[in-house]
């Protein structure tokens, strides 16, 4: 029951609300069980001379000399009584709502914070769709559990208990007769709703498949049309749509049967109670007012029983949801036990014998990598996909942690430096940068909220994206992301560069971040940047050799190892691998030159 601990944590500070709500809930159900007794009081006590089933205090309050005044008192009292009861119903409802929403608020916030703080290794493997499910559906399931289901169960339990108590106080034999079918009703509902769960699931799956077919059809409509497969698509969809329909109808039949049978059962109970009641009244073993009260109280027992069975049968869902939320919370945050050290970082970077492999394999993605980059130098790291370029960058900001060797900034092992501090000092421009669903302006300003408009347009201009932006319909106010315009890969990359310009960083990393920009613009941007970042240590990760050529130092990676290191000129002369790479990529230029 570890998960409960986590959840009580979130409820803390609001739990008193829940307790007050509970106390009110019980009081209210007691009051509700009294309402049928007013009619009993009228019939038996006002008209007859028999004892009232209402509590003594109330009887004293509504006692009067004449029948008419007494009736008036009963009527007035019942209105007042109900008014008080209903006001409390409202208060109780608001208390539970406040409690539920406040804890849901805390859970959402906690989940969000935790997800953001989970290590990169978690995110690189995570299934986004599944995580979203957990943050929305599972939180909702939890919310409904505390806010609705638990309350409903307690409310119904309290109501049936008090109703049975009132019956018991009036007539024990009749109470026993009235409860004969109760266990059957409860258990049939309980078992039914557990059994039907798998059916619900199969309906959901069928719907999922159907929806997926539509989605694929819409997304791939060019392919569908170009191959003329419309009829095939219609048939495929119809199969899924019909399957969904059929599964629904299977469920429907069961559902109709369940409701019909339990309804019959409930009316059977009414028949039983009514017949015996009449018999007892005629026999003089019960008053007719009591009989009427019994019929009303019976309704407070049998109908809720069925609902109770349903809600309890549904509880399983909640534990699953709680487990799923908990699974996320259990993954330790990457900032847990992180160092508080925030040394000044100037940009001198040293890799000494760095090796890295993921926990689940022994294959080293990086092997014994060593190099030294003095402050202000530009290093190009070149290599094929899978050569370890990106791993190297991930190690540099502790997205991943190297198992062997050390990485030092100005002589301090980065393992001892606070992660956030480290990342604030190393500006990485990713190949596929993420833009937030804000305006273009805000996406740039995100790195420096104090920046003024001039600085922002200036940054955009340096990154060669200003022209693109002003051509958007709403210019800098254009929304990006899911609900806004779709930017090309190159535009995104250039925006990412622009936002990086707003903040001074001693170390910068271009992680293949101009790959989607044409060569001409690439050069243009790099020229502009060299002036901007004179004292900055710059890492350029690329597979374009022309981009790497101008660096002070070129590191060639292959299968996790450094196969060559040096300037362009030395490498061309001493390294065959580099030279062949160069020749391959500049081959065309050579042919063109020849032809010229």
């Amino acid at each position: 029951m570890k998960r409960l601990k986590q959840f009580t944590q979130w409820m803390k500070g609001h739990i008193h609300l829940y307790l007050i709500g509970m106390v009110l809930l019980f009081a209210l159900q007691y009051m509700r069980s009294l309402t049928p007794l007013f009619l009993q009081h009228i019939v038996d006590t006002v008209f007859g001379d028999k004892p009232s089933a209402l509590p003594g205090i109330i009887v004293n309050l509504i006692d009067a000399a004449t029948m008419q005044t007494e009736l008036l008192f009963v009527a007035l009292f019942s209105v007042g009584f109900t008014f008080i009861r209903l006001s409390f119903v409202f208060v109780q409802h608001m208390i539970f709502a406040n409690f539920t929403e406040k804890t849901a608020y805390q859970i959402r916030n906690a989940l969000y914070t935790h997800l953001q703080n989970l290590p990169f290794s978690f995110h690189s493997k995570a299934d986004t769709g599944d995580l979203i499910q957990r943050t929305s559906n599972d939180v909702e399931t939890y919310r409904r559990f505390v806010g609705e289901q638990l309350v409903t169960v307690l409310r119904l339990l309290a109501l049936t208990t008090f109703a049975i108590l009132q019956m018991f106080l009036m007539n024990r034999t009749m109470t026993a007769i009235s409860l004969i079918t109760a266990p059957i009703i409860f258990f049939s509902a309980f078992i039914y709703f557990i059994k039907v769960k798998s059916l619900f699931k199969s309906v959901e799956e069928a719907e999922g498949k159907m929806t997926n077919t539509v989605q694929e059809n819409v997304q791939g409509n060019r392919v569908v049309k170009a191959f003329g497969n419309e009829i095939h698509e219609i048939e495929k969809f119809d199969d899924h749509s019909q399957d969904f329909l059929n599964k629904n109808m299977v469920l429907t039949k069961l559902m109709a049967l369940f409701w019909a049978l339990t309804d019959t059962l409930i009316f059977g109970q009414y028949a039983l109670t009514a017949s015996f009641g009449i018999y007892f009244v005629v026999q003089g073993r019960m008053e007719s007012g009591q009989f009427l009260a019994f019929l009303a109280l019976l309704g407070m027992v049998v109908w809720p029983l069925r609902q109770l069975g349903r809600v309890i049968g549904d509880f399983g869902k909640t534990t699953v949801a709680l487990d799923r939320i908990d699974e996320i919370m259990e993954v330790p945050s990457e900032h847990e036990n992180d160092s508080a050290l925030t040394p000044e970082i100037n940009g001198h970077v040293t890799f000494s014998n760095v090796s890295f492999h993921f926990d689940d394999t022994t294959d080293n993605l990086l092997k014994n990598v060593s190099f030294d980059v003095p402050r202000g130098e530009t290093v190009a790291i070149i290599g094929k996909t899978g050569s370890g370029k990106s791993t190297l960058m991930n190690l540099l900001v502790r997205m991943l942690e190297n198992q062997e060797g050390s990485i030092e900034f100005d002589g301090v092992d980065i393992k001892h430096i606070n992660k956030k501090w480290l990342r604030r000092n190393v500006g990485i421009i990713l190949q596929e940068p993420f833009l937030y669903s804000k305006t273009v302006y805000d996406n740039i300003a995100i790195m420096n909220p104090q920046a003024n408009e001039n600085q922002i347009t200036n940054a955009a201009a340096i990154a060669s994206v200003h022209e693109d932006i002003v051509h958007f319909e709403e210019g800098y106010k254009t929304k990006v992301g899911e609900k806004g315009v779709t930017l090309s890969g190159g535009q995104k990359q250039r925006l990412a560069i622009a936002r990086m310009l707003l903040d001074d960083k001693p170390i910068l990393v271009f992680d293949d971040s101009l790959s989607a920009v044409d060569t001409k613009t690439d050069i243009q941007i790099r020229r502009a940047l060299t002036h901007y970042w004179e004292n900055t240590t710059v890492f350029i990760i690329t597979h374009r050799i022309t981009t790497a050529m101008e660096a002070d130092q070129i590191i060639v990676l292959d299968q996790g190892e450094i196969v060559a290191k040096g300037t362009h000129d030395t490498l061309m002369q001493t390294n065959a691998f580099y030279a062949s790479l160069y020749n391959k990529q500049t081959d065309l230029k050579a042919t063109l030159d020849e032809e010229a």
Binding site: V74, V89, M94, Y105
Partner: protein, 599 residues
């Protein structure tokens, strides 16, 4: 799916046209609808008569003390039980049958329409919009037209039944109860609308939160590198705070609703207690009748609340209905003429026996084209491509490359001028005929869920397994396919998530090859694949192009070089045309483009 649900309602007018159209969709379910309405009426009668059975017990048996009547009472009760059980079963079954079948019918119509709508429709309609029509709208609409309709009938009849019986039994007490009716109706409608509105707000807020989570997860790497955790959290916290606020506000309305209704009921009950009690005392009415009235007051509220619920949802359903109708009745802006349909058949019923073989000569004659509301993309464009020739289209974004391809596929038609295939205007033959002869390889290859085999077979649904393997071998996909554990039966999952882009591309080449089209369109990807894959793809392209009229939107030099003719486009005009060698010699745009890119 939740995010797709729009929540805008433009006006509240009753749209008779829309509903008429929806009712025509319901026609096949007519019998069921009539039956369920009759059942609803019977159920209302049963509900009204129930307290009367008890009254019989109270007034006749108890008053007279004649226990010999008890078996009759029990018999009536048992009969009632059975009838009610049967009613409830058929009621639920039929209502659900209507609901599910109606949703099915709507989906069927919509999907068939979608297959007939031209590409331009997809171009301007977001996928999410279409998805919402197929899911939430068809669901909401069928819900209202099954249960809503039944609630309306049952509720209406129940109220009429209750009122009539009450007035027959006792006018004074009936009047008291009836006075509560308008107050109840008003309160119910007021609260239902408020609640619905509040919940709509919550749903909206909820999809915002889901969106934020999505962003937090997809953008995790960027967030970490930029250390934006705190600023993101601040934004997020605003959303959850608003969610909390909206939810508590919604709880306020839903919390007030039932108590206020019950309070009205309590007043009515108290009045019955008093006046009814007085009548009993004066021996004007019996105790049994008093019981009946007390029961009726409580029974009265159910139908009122149900009716209010249906009315409150009506507006929402009408919005759904309008959107569904707008899809089902969408008029395709590219369609075969009736004469063409008569000869060549429709998409659903093609007359393949009349289809001439296609050779593959394509000619653009003075073609002018602009997208809706757009500027001219092509202006007086002329081009002749001979059967079997391959043409590479080169130029910057917006030069008109995609437009030319869209026109050839007849995804769009020329605004002015004609396009002929084998010398005849292609509008004179059917879309299905053209598409049957067309092969298309997309920039980002689209795979359907299913196996690799299914995906290759998509090019020709009648192809044998051998033909599939042969096609895969020809494009060089066989090796990687057989390296999977399940080989050709490997599932590609949603959108082909487990395959690399290069592999997906090879599969789509095999698919195109299997289709054996006369005209082939290659929309080449810019994405960088490693050299090995690039070589395989290049070979595949050359294999696929052989003997077909091919149009390539090309980015890779190797692909461009293999074309018979290269067209350099700018602003919808051909500014250069010729073979690679000729163009290089020319020292024009083409030369500049490529010396730039590789320098």
């Amino acid at each position: 799916m939740q995010a797709f649900e729009e929540e805008t309602y433009h006006n509240q007018e009753f749209k008779s046209h829309t509903w008429k159209r929806i009712f025509t969709l319901m026609a096949p379910l007519k019998k069921n609808v009539i039956l369920v309405i009759i059942l609803a009426a019977f159920t209302a009668v049963a509900d009204v008569s129930y307290p009367l059975i008890n009254r019989y017990g109270i007034d006749t048996i108890i008053e007279t003390g004649d226990l010999s009547l008890l078996p009759i009472f029990i018999g009536v009760y048992v009969l009632y039980m059975i009838v009610l059980g049967g009613l409830i079963f058929s009621f639920i079954y039929l209502a659900e049958k209507i609901r599910n079948n109606l949703a099915y019918i709507i989906r069927k119509h919509a999907f068939e329409k979608l297959q007939n709508l031209p590409f331009s429709y997809y171009d301007r309609t977001p996928a999410g919009w279409i998805m919402a029509r197929m899911t939430s709208d068809s669901r909401q609409l069928s819900e209202l037209l099954s249960w809503g309709l039944i609630d309306l009938t049952w509720g209406g009849l129940m109220m009429i039944g209750l009122l009539s019986v009450m007035f027959v039994l006792n006018v004074q007490l009936a009047l008291i109860t009836a006075t509560a009716l308008p107050i109840l109706a008003f309160l119910s409608l007021y609260f239902r609308k408020k609640i619905l509105k509040a919940f709509r707000k919550i749903r909206k807020q909820n999809s915002k939160i889901t969106g934020a989570f999505n962003e937090g997860i997809s953008g995790a790497k960027t967030t970490k590198t930029l250390v934006l955790e705190d600023s993101n959290y601040k934004d997020f916290e605003h959303l959850t705070y608003d969610m909390k606020r909206h939810s508590i506000k919604a709880a306020l309305f839903s919390g007030l609703y039932l108590p206020s209704i019950l309070f009205i009921a309590a007043i009515a009950t108290a009045l019955i207690y008093y006046y009814g009690g007085m009548n009993v005392a004066d021996e004007v009415i019996t105790v049994g009748l008093l019981y009946v009235f007390v029961s009726y007051v409580m029974q009265f509220f159910e139908p009122v609340m149900q009716l209010a619920n249906v009315l409150a949802h009506f507006q929402q359903a009408q919005a759904s209905a309008e959107r569904v109708v707008s899809l089902i009745d969408a008029v395709p802006d590219i369609e075969d003429t009736d004469e063409v349909k008569a000869t060549y058949g429709t998409i659903a019923h093609p007359k393949k026996e009349n289809w001439e073989p296609l050779k593959g000569d394509i000619e653009f004659n003075h073609v002018t084209f602009n997208y809706k509301k757009g500027e001219k993309v092509l202006d007086d464009f002329n081009l002749l491509v001979k059967s079997g020739e391959s043409v590479a289209l080169v130029g910057s974004t917006g030069a008109g490359k995609s437009t030319i391809v869209n026109l050839i596929c007849r995804f769009y038609e020329p605004t002015k001028g004609t396009i002929t295939i084998d010398g005849r205007d292609y509008k004179n033959r059917s879309l299905a005929w053209l598409h049957a002869n067309l092969g298309y390889v997309l920039q980002s290859p689209h795979l359907f869920s299913g196996t690799i085999r299914d995906n290759i077979r998509y090019g020709n649904l009648e192809a044998s397994d051998d033909a599939i393997i042969k096609a895969a071998k020809m494009v060089g996909a066989h090796t990687f396919i057989t390296s999977f554990k399940d080989g050709y039966d490997t599932e590609v999952n949603e959108g082909g998530a487990r395959l690399s882009v290069g592999e997906k591309q090879l599969i789509s080449f095999a698919r195109a090859l299997l289709a054996d089209p006369k005209i082939l369109i290659l929309d080449e990807a810019t994405s960088s694949v490693d050299t090995q894959t690039e070589q395989t793809i290049q070979k595949a392209i050359e294999t696929v192009m052989e003997g077909r009229t091919t149009f390539i939107i090309a980015h890779r030099l190797s692909t461009i070089m293999s074309a018979d003719r290269i067209l350099v486009l700018e602003h919808g005009k051909i500014i250069e045309s010729g073979t690679h060698e000729a163009l290089i010699e020319n020292r024009g745009h083409y030369y500049n483009l490529y010396t730039n890119q590789f320098a």
